[in-house]
C-alpha cells in the first residue's frame, strides 16, 4: 500500500483530526506572528480540503466508505444473529461528501475573509482556535455514522458557535444573542439526547445503520423521531423555532456568520439522514409490508410542507420590514431554509399506493418526488453560497462604513464598485433569477411542488419574487442614490475580502451556467445515497439486509 492509498484510507479520520489539531496549535503558532498564524491556518484547511477531495473521489468511484475508530473491523454477533460494530464508525456516502464539500468551501473562504476583516481585533489566536473547532464539529456531524457521536459534535458546535457569536463582547447585543443561542441550542440538544436514550433502550445500539436496520416505528420510535426532528429543525431555523437565527446571524461578525451557515446546514443534514436513513424503513421503504406507513409518511410530508411554507412567508415578510442589513439577510436565510424543507416535504407527501383490481400491489414515489429531493439538496449548497455572499457583502460595508442600518446608508456604489457588483450577483442568485444557481434549484422545487399542489408552488414563487423586492430595497438604499457627504472618504475593502467574495461569485456563476455539472456529479448521487438506505445499512451490517 503506497502513501497515497494510506492517506485515502484514513481520510475520514484525518478530515476531522487536521482542523482539530490545527485549532489547538494555533495559539502556539500565533506567538511567532499573525502572518505565520494566518498561513498556518489556511494551509491546514487546504490540506483538509485536499483530504476531502481524496475521500470524495474514493466514495464516488468505489461507493460508501466506513471507517472504524480504535481498531479493525470489530464486529459483535448477538445470539439473535445480528452483527454490529462496537466502535465509533464514520460512514461516508455521497451525501456526506456533498456536505463536507460545502463546509470546507465555506470554511476556507470564511478564513480568507477573516484575515482582513478581523485584522484589527484582539484575541485572534482564540478566534481562530474556536473557528477551527466549529469547523471540526461541523465536519464531524457530517461524517459520523453514530448517533451519540453526532450529539457530541452537535454540542461542540453549540458551544463554539456561542463563543463566536459573542466575539464582539463589548456589544451588549452580541452577548444577548449568544445567550439566547446557547439556551435554545442546549435545550434542543437535550431533547436530542433524550431521543437517543429512547432508541438505545429499544435497540441497544447507537450506530445509525444498526438502528435503521431494526427500526419498528413503535410508539417509542415515533417519540424519538419527533424529538430528533424538532431539535434539528430548530437548529436549522425552521419557523416558528427560527427566532435565535436572526439574533445570532445579525450580531456575529460576518466572517463567523458565513461559517455558522455551514453549521446550520449540518443540522439540516442530520434531519435528512434521520428521515431518509434512520427511519428509512418507514419513510423510504416501498415494500408492501410498510403499507400502513404510507399515510404516516404523507402526513409527515404535509407537516413539513406546512412548516416550510410558513417559514418561507415569515422569513420574507420579516425581511421586508428590517432596517438592519445583517438581520434582513438573516430573515432571508430563514426563508431559504423553508425552500429546502419544502423539497423534503414534497418527497414524503408524494408516496402512494399502487392498486390493481381494488387490491394494493405496490408502493411507490411519484417521479417528481425525486426532482423535489434533488432540488432540495441542490438548494442546500446554493443557499450557503448566495446567503453567505450577501453576509460577506454586509460585512464589507460594515468594514468600510461602520454602519449596518439601511437608513443611514446610500450612494455607496460610487466608492465600493466591486462590492456592489458582488451584491447584485448575490441578490439575483438568492432571489432565484436566471441564470444564477438559485434559479436552477428553485425551478426544480417549483415544478415538483406544482405537481403535488399548484397553490403551494404559486406561494413559493411569489415569495421568491418578494425576496427579490426585499433585496432591491437594500440595493437602492445602500448602493444607489446621491453620494452621502459622510461616505465621501469610503474606500473599497481590502483585497483578501474581495478575493473571498469573488471566489463565491465564481462558484455561483459556474453552478448557475452549468447546473447539471453539480446535479449529475454530486446532487443526484447524494439523493440516491439517501433514498437507497439499505445500501447504507448493509455497509455496516453485511449479510443482514
Amino acid at each position: 500500500m503506497n502513501w497515497f492509498e494510506i492517506i485515502t484510507m484514513h481520510s475520514p479520520a484525518l478530515i476531522v483530526a487536521v482542523p482539530l489539531l490545527t485549532g489547538f496549535l494555533t495559539p502556539l503558532v500565533s506567538r511567532i506572528n499573525s502572518t505565520v498564524r494566518n498561513l498556518f491556518v489556511i494551509i491546514m484547511l487546504s490540506i483538509t480540503g485536499f483530504l476531502i477531495a481524496l475521500l470524495g473521489y474514493d466514495v464516488l468511484t468505489n461507493g460508501i466508505r466506513t471507517y472504524v475508530f480504535g481498531g479493525g473491523n470489530t464486529v459483535v454477533t448477538l445470539p439473535s444473529g445480528l452483527m454490529f460494530h462496537v466502535r465509533i464508525i464514520f460512514e461516508v456516502d455521497v451525501m456526506n461528501v456533498f456536505m463536507i464539500f460545502i463546509t470546507i468551501i465555506l470554511a476556507i473562504i470564511g478564513i480568507v475573509y477573516s484575515f482582513s476583516f478581523m485584522k484589527k481585533e484582539d484575541g485572534l489566536d482564540k478566534y481562530y482556535t474556536i473557528v477551527l473547532l466549529l469547523i471540526t464539529s461541523t465536519l464531524g456531524m457530517e461524517l459520523t455514522g453514530d448517533l451519540f457521536n453526532f450529539f457530541v459534535f452537535l454540542e461542540i458546535s453549540c458551544i463554539t458557535s456561542c463563543a463566536l457569536i459573542a466575539f464582539w463582547v463589548h456589544k451588549g447585543e452580541a452577548l444577548e444573542a449568544a445567550f439566547k443561542y446557547i439556551v435554545v441550542s442546549s435545550i434542543g440538544a437535550l431533547f436530542f439526547l433524550f431521543a437517543l436514550g429512547l432508541l438505545y433502550a429499544q435497540y441497544n445500539a447507537l450506530n445509525m445503520a444498526t438502528i435503521a436496520n431494526s427500526i419498528q416505528f413503535s410508539i417509542i420510535d415515533q417519540a424519538a423521531l419527533i424529538l430528533i426532528i424538532a431539535a434539528l429543525a430548530m437548529k436549522a431555523g425552521l419557523v416558528p423555532m427560527h427566532m435565535w437565527l436572526p439574533d445570532s446571524y445579525g450580531e456575529a461578525p460576518p466572517s463567523i456568520t458565513f461559517i455558522l451557515i455551514a453549521a446550520t446546514q449540518a443540522s439540516l443534514y442530520g434531519a435528512f439522514r434521520v428521515l431518509f436513513t434512520l427511519y428509512g424503513n418507514v419513510f423510504n421503504s416501498v415494500n408492501l409490508a410498510s403499507l400502513s406507513l404510507v399515510l404516516t409518511t404523507n402526513t409527515m410530508g404535509w407537516i413539513i410542507i406546512t412548516l416550510a411554507i410558513i417559514t418561507i412567508l415569515v422569513g420574507v415578510f420579516m425581511a421586508l420590514i428590517q432596517t438592519d442589513f445583517k438581520r434582513l439577510i438573516a430573515f432571508a436565510a430563514v426563508a431559504e431554509i423553508g425552500y429546502i424543507f419544502l423539497g423534503i416535504g414534497v418527497r414524503l407527501a408524494s408516496k402512494y399506493v399502487q392498486y390493481t383490481g381494488g387490491s394494493a400491489t405496490g408502493i411507490a414515489f411519484t417521479e417528481y418526488s425525486s426532482i423535489a429531493l434533488n432540488g432540495s439538496i441542490f438548494h442546500i449548497i446554493n443557499d450557503c453560497l448566495d446567503i453567505g455572499l450577501l453576509f460577506l457583502v454586509a460585512g464589507a460595508i460594515y468594514y468600510a462604513t461602520k454602519e449596518t442600518s439601511l437608513d443611514k446608508m446610500g450612494g455607496l456604489a460610487r466608492n465600493l464598485k466591486y462590492t456592489t457588483i458582488f451584491f447584485v450577483i448575490g441578490l439575483l442568485a438568492v432571489s432565484g433569477m436566471p441564470p444564477f444557481n438559485g434559479f436552477a434549484s428553485k425551478l426544480m422545487l417549483y415544478e415538483s411542488t406544482f405537481q403535488l399542489n399548484p397553490i403551494i408552488a404559486i406561494i413559493a414563487v411569489l415569495a421568491s419574487i418578494m425576496l427579490l423586492a426585499v433585496f432591491v430595497k437594500v440595493f437602492y438604499s445602500v448602493f444607489m442614490g446621491p453620494e452621502q457627504p459622510k461616505f465621501k472618504e469610503v474606500k473599497e475593502v481590502p483585497k483578501t475580502m474581495l478575493i473571498a467574495m469573488g471566489a463565491i461569485v465564481v462558484i455561483i456563476i459556474i453552478f448557475g451556467l452549468f447546473p447539471n455539472l453539480v446535479i449529475n456529479n454530486l446532487v443526484a448521487p447524494a439523493a440516491n445515497a439517501l433514498t437507497n438506505y439499505t445500501t447504507y445499512i448493509s455497509k455496516v451490517i453485511p449479510g443482514v439486509i
Binding site: 435545550i187 419527533i226 423555532m241 420590514i321 439601511l406 441564470p435 415544478e447 437594500v474 438604499s477 452549468f514
Partner: protein, 121 residues
C-alpha cells in the same frame, strides 16, 4: 465518475427544462436589439443644462444628500397596507429566550399529536 458531458446538458425538471446557455444567447440578442433601438433615438440631450434639473411640481429641489429615500421608507405603502400582518409578526418576535423555547415546545407538541394520531390509524 465525473462526467464532463454535464457541462452543456439541459436540465430536465420533469415537466420543463432549463438551459442557461440558450437563455444567455437569447438575452444577448435581446440586449443587442435594445442597443440598436436606443441608437435610433434623438441625440439632443445636453448635460449640465436645465434639461437635467428635476421638476418637482414647481417645488424647490432639495440638496442631493436629502433626496435619498431611506431603507425603511421604501415600500411604505405596501407595509402600511399590510400593517396588521406585520404587527402580528413583530409581536411574535419578542426577543425573549423563554418564548423561543416555548415555540419549540409548541411545535413538538403539535408533532406528537399529529404523528401519534396518524400512526395509530
Amino acid at each position: 465518475m465525473f462526467s464532463l458531458d454535464s457541462f452543456f446538458e439541459t436540465l430536465k425538471t420533469g415537466s420543463g427544462f432549463w438551459n442557461p446557455l440558450v437563455w444567455i444567447i437569447i438575452i444577448a440578442i435581446a440586449f443587442l436589439l435594445i442597443y440598436v433601438l436606443r441608437s435610433l433615438g434623438k441625440k439632443e440631450y445636453k448635460e449640465k443644462t436645465e434639461q437635467t434639473q428635476s421638476f418637482l411640481s414647481g417645488n424647490p429641489e432639495y440638496e442631493k444628500e436629502q433626496m435619498h429615500i431611506k431603507g425603511s421608507n421604501v415600500y411604505w405603502g405596501f407595509t402600511e397596507a399590510l400593517k396588521w400582518a406585520f404587527n402580528v409578526l413583530r409581536k411574535m418576535h419578542t426577543g425573549n429566550a423563554s418564548d423561543y423555547v416555548l415555540w419549540f415546545i409548541i411545535v413538538m407538541g403539535f408533532l406528537f399529536i399529529v404523528v401519534f394520531l396518524t400512526g395509530a390509524l
